[in-house]
Amino acid sequence: MIDLVGYAAFFLTTVLIFSLIGLGLNLQWGLTGLFNAGIAGFVAVGAYVSALLTTPETPDHLGGFDLPIVLGWFGAMMAAAAAAALIGFATLRLKSDFLAITTFGVSMVVHLVVLNAQSITGGTFGIGFIPRPFASLVETPLYFNLGNLAVVTAVTLVVFFSLEHLAHSPWGRVLKALREDERAAISLGKNARFYRTQAFALGGGIMGLAGAVQAHFVGYIAPDNYLPTLTFQVWVMLVVGGSGSNLGVVIGSLIVWAIWAGSGAMTGMLFAPEQQAHAASLQLVAIGVMLCVILLVRPNGIFGGASQLRDKKRNSPKGADGAGPSSSSSTEANAPTDRMPISKKY
């Protein structure tokens, strides 16, 4: 029973870390419509910066500055946000595809750097001895896991409510205005590139924070934690939950991670140990197909329908004037289109 509670705490912590990354992505994609194809890169930047800042001094690689964990997290956020700001500055005046290609490149290059710059990042060996909150409780895994869960929950809640607040602030309204009708927003004197770069940087910073939180939760990081697979997982979580909704992100993370961990356990039971690497690639096939199917069938996500119901209700008085069901169905069909006007601008 106690084992089960411990495992549940561990499971939920992982889900919440994914939710944190997803919240950053939702700010970039759901609210602002910016496609980030290199999530893993920003998460890795955060994880490595925080690890270097907080680990005890070591001859194996650079750093080991032995700073408090909170400073590590702050540094992680700043570094990832700076990287995102630079990328945003370079690409956001161009077509939206260029951001996708460049961020994809970022994740490749970050992986390359952490793998090869051994004197800074420890290379393939990664970085160990990352200080963990509640390390003194590690003898009793239950308390240790619950303590970590509490910390990660607190961080997620803070980010969640800050983002909800931001979305309804004047700043969030500008982003929404840019998304709904870019020309109108620009004609009101809003600098599209400036606002988008801010949103992209803030989203990148949240991803970096998530990477740092995870590094301190596990206590050890290595380059192969940050492969394109991570990017895919987060995207699927966002799309399943319905992009645009912060709550959807958390629910999507829960569902996708439950499927992922469950199917992992199943392949563990069904396949012989030497075939498990084999079976793991089938898991990835499934997640790729899942992403495509959702985009085809329910582009607003499995739970994206809820907000649309509300929209329909709001539209219904208009429907009584005669436009009727056709108007509400057309809003539904246009919903994914409305989200992304920037790609139409050329």
Partner: protein
């Protein structure tokens, strides 16, 4: 001077793939992240056909000083056709449906998912271990200026040149090529003057898939065959297409050659492990300095 040959070779691989990227981008209006995976699938398809021919015919000697015989040439043609058909199939199942109802960036995301599924399925079928078309070792012959080249390399470079000439003639001299250019410039107007846009899209996938497959075979013959070979080339291909200017086929090839040659210099001077970073640095530089690329036109 050896970097010239190395650079031309990897530049050809990148450039051939970049043609497909630039064509899909200019005609279908999206950047296809699954293009590299067409390359890997084509190479494995060719490998299967080669092995099937060898099963039926028994051992076949190589052609002259080359490491491969006629089975590979035959398999190459069928592999290129199969890759084109695979591209058509993916378009039919996924991209065409999304084109009708979704925003372009959703298609980019779908190509991302498709890439993951395609690559992981190859890993499932063939494991992550590298395989080879042939285990024969080739002796490089000096051809002056301190450059050495193997017979395989020379023949593949010549074949690349022939393929590029064929594509160039097709785009500039045939009615199909004219239609493709028309659609890439203005799809709506092209439709108004009676161009069959669906046919143009089909030709685009067939050409892009076939060239990707040839590029993959080149990698397979000269280096090794792995499920991630396409993923590794995705960034260089995009960088080449953007450097050359989106929509320009000569641009894609020249962009590929520039990246290939720069990579070869970087490998000599800095170290092979930093190869991918070259594409990224060039990509960022182009985006800052001249986002339309070398031969690009200002977008409307």
């Amino acid at each position: 001077m050896q970097f010239v040959v190395d650079g031309l070779l990897s530049g050809s691989m990148i450039g051939l793939g970049a043609i497909g990227v630039t064509l899909t981008y200019s005609i279908l209006q999206f950047s296809n992240f699954a293009h590299g995976d067409l390359m890997s699938w084509g190479t494995y398809a060719t490998l299967i056909v080669v092995n099937a021919i060898l099963q039926i015919m028994g051992p076949v000697g190589p052609l002259g000083p080359l490491s491969f015989g006629w089975p590979l040439l035959l398999a190459m043609i069928s592999g290129m056709a199969l890759t084109g058909l695979l591209a058509l199939a993916i378009d039919y199942v996924l991209f065409a449906r999304l084109r009708q109802k979704s925003e372009m960036i959703i298609i980019v995301m779908a190509s991302f998912g498709a890439s993951m599924a395609l690559r992981s399925f190859l890993e499932f079928l063939f494991t992550g271990q590298p395989t080879y078309f042939s285990h024969a070792i080739q002796i490089a012959t000096p051809i002056g200026l301190g450059i050495r080249i193997t017979p395989d390399q020379a023949v593949l470079l010549a074949m690349t040149a022939v393929l590029l000439l064929a594509v160039h003639l097709m785009i500039t001299r045939t009615q199909t090529g004219r239609s493709m250019r028309a659609v890439s410039q203005n799809a709506a107007l092209a439709r108004v003057v009676g161009i069959d846009v669906k046919r143009v899209i089909r030709v685009t996938w067939l050409v892009g898939g076939a060239l990707a497959c040839f590029s993959g075979i080149m990698i397979g013959v000269l280096l090794q065959i792995r499920p991630t070979m396409g993923l590794d080339l995705t960034l260089p291909m995009f960088a080449a297409a953007i450097l050359g200017g989106i929509g320009s086929i000569p641009g894609a090839v020249i962009g590929g050659l520039i990246i290939g040659l720069t990579e070869a210099v970087a490998v000599e001077q800095i170290g092979a492990e930093w190869r991918i970073a070259v594409s990224f640095v060039i990509l960022i530089a182009v985006l800052f300095i001249r986002p339309t690329g070398l031969f690009g036109v200002q977008e409307r």
